[in-house]
């Protein structure tokens, strides 16, 4: 293994840190990937849903007879026909804190949001499905809809769930430490109300499933694009009342998920039930209009916050009242707690907060239900913290970077007021580098000359290794966290390694293989990753919360280490030496340390393990396999970053354009720099989308505004600028590779940085915007008012 470029292409056994090309690409760039809709089974039928057209109403009539008559329609089912068990997502909290609600698979008696599935139509082709849906008769007694916080919390509010009086499903005062009131009494007090709009995670591949029942095996096979196949299996088994062994969930290639696919959908369950009843494969593919109106949403939050500072800019207390509009149902398994509990627990962010009081509520409304979406609440509370820093800096006459410098955590490990212990990061270093980039490039000078240019920062951390200990604090009755991996070497010295995580764009097939290749000392080409099959993978928690490389990757690395040890034990025996006297040679073999000429290749060892097991040492079992489970202890791992942004507002239209976007990120040891850059840029694009463009709004009757891409503004290449990504590397103490996760940071940092940049240029107008998306109208109004004033005063 001669190596000219030791780091770059992984030669010389240095696979970690190498920007090796993605191993998933050959099939994906040639159209040979296999996504759910590409699956075609013999005799397959197609399914679609009759969905609610009113946001809140009693179903007075549901007549599917005309639908069943439609040419090509094979069956039509109501909730009554399918008799499925409901989904119930629970928190282990007292009734004054949490009110449980159920999500039926198909609506029964009542609908709670526009787009809620009421009945299922099965037909020979998707066109006939549409005809069938159109023929279905549904009658409603329309009820008043809950579409705003004000309506939800009003005295005589209409109730979304009868068993949830007051429409509040979760109400917790997570922290109320001493010293809050004292700090406010004699500090400089910043108050603000921030809001963020309801968004759709919007994977480009919509949700979908192909379900089939195998009589010989008595097994249901559900191929679906899910980030959590094992959890889908659990719900399928429970809802259909069959043993888990009778359900196999397989995830093929997946066109993005971003959290929307890490909860269990009702549709997969209904379609599986139909396939079992009909004994024929059934395919459901969500169309874009369905995905926009009734796909899981996120992010509609309001924070009423106060922060106290000393005269020299030290934050002394933080108080916030958080309300998250979780929509009509509690998602499985994360519950309605996902947003409010995350926000309350982690709001102090990267800053030292001596006193903290926070109340967080989840309210229910007649809107599409919510699920985790890339970043979960962190884009929102980071926006709060970063706005506070900027507002306090203005008030106290400090530079925005300086005030952050005075408050940012610099000693690690640090245990915050929120009882969270942060592992080492580069909070201050990333901030200073971000500022330096903008200064060196002359953006500050330009801003001095052009009043329509603004500069904004956001400095944040994100918990990426959520082990079960960290999740348990949330008191879900279903606690995610660990992951399991199995590795097997064959006679050719190749290994197949499994992971319970799911690749849907994050390049697992490449980065996990890099981890194994380095651990085991084999060429990348010898490693194959298997994911997304509940029959092949013993158990897994899937991919969300940037947990793949931290937890899944650590399980994979540990399994590889164990396999390496096994190889050494056998090799030592065959070489007739002590096990301490052998080691992996980094090139697919084991060498004798005191005599490196004595070497056995993995193939030679495998030959004994499989074909001549009588030669094995007593302590070794036949075959070469190892398994490992991994869980991150304590509070987990934290990646961090600073985003530094320059924007320009068009004084004629109020349109905000991003002139420069610099991301300085630290996700610990970088396994593949190009993959991390890609995660950062893609995340930032979604964060910019939230900051400037995307929002699902609702009319008073609960009708959603976004029914097609015409009404939902997804940014294109024209709106997303080129983004530089600089890496700092503070290795993680808790993971096997030293890597922390990198999936969500971009999305978390962008809204705050963009909002701060816009407010920086608006400062002179006296108007500050505290809401995303930032509408051009609002920017324009502020600018023109200021300009008029300036003209009037002759300034």
């Amino acid at each position: 293994m001669a190596s000219e470029e030791p780091r770059f292409d992984g030669r010389g056994g240095k696979w970690i840190g190498a920007s090796v090309r993605r191993r998933e690409d050959p099939r994906l760039v040639t159209g040979r990937g296999r996504f759910v809709d590409d699956i075609h089974l013999h005799g397959m039928l197609h399914a679609g849903f009759v969905r609610a057209t009113v946001a809140h109403g009693k179903i007075t009539e549901l007549d599917l007879s005309a639908a069943r008559e439609v040419d090509g329609v094979v069956a039509a089912y109501s909730a009554e026909d399918l008799q499925l068990g409901d989904m119930v997502a629970l928190l282990d909290r007292p009734p004054e804190e949490f009110t449980p609600t159920t999500m039926p698979i198909l609506a029964r008696g009542k609908v709670r949001f526009v787009g809620e599935p009421i009945a299922l139509v099965i037909a020979k082709d998707p066109y006939a499905v549409e005809d069938g849906i159109e023929a279905a008769q549904v009658g409603y007694e329309v009820l008043d809809a809950v579409v705003s916080e004000e309506t939800a919390l009003a005295e005589d509010a209409p109730l979304v769930h009868e068993d949830a009086p007051s429409n509040v499903l979760l109400d917790v005062t997570s922290f109320d430490t001493p010293g809050v009131d004292e700090a406010f009494a004699d500090g400089c007090v910043i108050e603000l109300v921030t809001r963020s709009g309801r968004q759709n995670a919007l994977p480009l591949e919509t949700r979908g499933a192909v379900a089939s029942w195998d009589d010989r095996d008595e097994q249901l096979l559900v191929q679906t694009c899910s980030q959590v196949p094992h959890q889908v299996r659990t719900v399928l088994a429970r809802s259909l009342r069959i043993p888990e062994r009778s359900v196999r969930v397989v995830v093929p290639d997946m066109g993005g998920g971003f959290g929307q696919k890490c909860v269990v959908g009702r549709e997969e369950i209904a379609v599986a039930a139909a396939a079992k009843l009909l004994r024929r494969p059934v395919k459901w593919i969500e169309d874009r209009s369905e995905a926009l109106a009734s796909g899981f949403l996120a992010r509609e939050q309001r924070y009423r916050t106060r922060a106290a500072f000393t005269e020299d800019g030290q934050l002394t207390a933080l108080e916030s009242d958080i309300v998250c509009d979780m929509g009509a149902y509690s998602c499985y398994p994360f519950t309605v707690g996902i947003e409010p509990l995350m926000a309350a627990a982690e709001m102090p962010s990267v800053y030292r907060v001596p006193a903290y009081r926070v109340r967080a509520r989840a309210i229910t409304s007649n809107k599409a239900p919510t699920a985790p979406y890339r970043g979960v609440s962190r884009p929102q509370y980071v926006m709060v913290m970063e706005r506070i820093m900027d507002l306090a800096a203005r008030r106290l006459g400090l530079d925005p970077v300086e005030i952050r410098r005075r408050n940012v955590i610099t000693e690690f490990p640090y245990t915050g007021i929120n009882k969270v212990t942060y592992d080492p990061g580069s909070y201050l270093e990333s901030l200073e580098l971000g500022e330096k980039i903008l200064r060196d490039e002359g953006w500050y000078d330009l801003r001095g000359k052009n009043p329509h240019i603004g500069i904004g920062y956001s400095c944040f951390s994100e918990r990426t290794g959520y082990g079960s200990e960290a999740f348990a604090k949330r008191k879900m009755t279903v606690v995610p966290g660990f992951d399991v991996s199995e590795i097997r070497m064959d006679l050719t010295g190749s290994v197949v390694v499994t992971s319970g995580t799911i690749n849907h764009g994050q390049s697992h097939e490449t980065t996990f293989a890099q981890i194994v290749a380095e651990r085991l000392g084999v060429d990348l080409a010898k490693v194959k990753l298997r994911q997304g099959d509940t029959e092949r993978i013993s158990y897994g928690w899937g991919t969300f919360a940037s947990r793949s490389v931290t937890i899944g990757g650590s399980a994979v690395a540990t399994a590889a280490t164990r396999l390496g040890e096994q190889l050494c034990v056998i090799a030592a025996h065959l070489l007739d030496t002590r096990v301490e006297n052998v080691g992996l040679d980094g090139d697919g073999g084991v060498i004798q340390l005191d005599d490196p000429d004595r070497r056995l290749s993995f193939e030679e060892i495998a030959d004994v393990a499989y074909l001549r097991s009588h030669l094995l040492p007593k302590e070794a079992e036949p075959t070469l396999t190892a398994t490992a489970a991994f869980d991150v202890p304590g509070d987990g791992t934290f990646s961090n970053a600073t985003h530094a942004v320059v924007v320009e507002a068009d004084p004629g239209t109020g349109q905000v354009k991003i002139l420069r976007y610099a991301c300085v990120e630290d996700c610990g040891v970088v396994i593949n720099p190009k993959v991390v850059d890609g995660q950062a840029r893609g995340g930032i694009a979604q964060g910019i989308a939230g900051a400037l463009f995307e929002e699902v709004t609702y009319a008073e009757n609960g009708e959603p505004s976004a029914a097609s891409f015409i009404d939902y503004l997804v940014p294109t290449a024209a709106e997303i600028p080129d983004i530089t990504v600089d890496h700092l590397e503070t290795p993680c103490a808790f993971t096997e590779s030293g890597a922390k996760g990198a999936g969500e940071g971009g999305t978390i940092g962008a809204p705050a940085a963009v909002l701060n940049a816009v407010n920086d240029l608006l400062w002179r107008t006296g108007v500050q915007l505290e809401q995303t998306p930032i509408h051009p109208e609002a920017v324009l109004a502020a600018l023109t008012a200021a300009d008029r004033e300036k003209a009037g005063t002759g300034a």
Partner: protein, 165 residues
């Protein structure tokens, strides 16, 4: 409603005799009747561009065309560009520049770029950006897609300095 029509489509140089309903889109027929699933469905209303294919050399959204309208046209889909063993230069550039993550939008971007570069072999970066703004990608933030197309253009026109290595 089920009066089907017999049509002949020329896809990637091969003729296919197909019995289709007039309302079936070219997208559905390519995917489900011809069996070429590389062309993806992202919206079915002409906005996302995941379904972009070449019809007589022009990038076209296959979801906005009925199959019956495509008779007599030369249709090219992503499967015609290259194979996993031998991807074409544009496909290689997408991989080299990390121009894809989940890969769902990729066939649409590739066909768009293939058609665009045939018409405009030496575009500026801004022109590339503007052209690809007709398609949506939810994963990459677009920059690396623009990089890949820029590099391919450079390589094809022999501009060595920023060509793909």
């Amino acid at each position: 409603m089920t009066d089907k029509q017999l049509i002949v489509l020329t896809v990637n140089g091969e003729e296919h005799e197909l019995l289709v309903e007039p309302r079936w889109t070219l997208l559905d027929v390519l995917r489900h009747n011809v069996g070429l699933t590389g062309t993806h469905v992202g919206c079915e209303h002409g906005v996302c561009g995941a379904c972009t294919i070449l019809v007589d050399g022009e990038p076209v959204r296959a979801c906005l065309m009925y199959a019956v309208q495509a008779e007599g046209c030369a249709i090219r889909t992503v499967e015609d560009l290259g194979t996993p063993e031998e991807p074409n230069d544009l496909q290689q550039a997408f991989s080299e520049h990390h121009g894809l993550q989940c890969g769902f939008c990729t066939p649409g971007f590739l066909m768009l770029a293939e058609g665009f570069l045939a018409q405009e072999p030496s575009p500026t970066r801004e022109e590339i950006r503007e052209t690809v703004s007709s398609n949506l990608c939810r994963c990459t933030g677009y920059q690396t897609i623009v990089d890949a197309i820029e590099a391919t253009a450079a390589k094809r026109t022999g501009r060595k300095e920023d060509a793909v290595r």
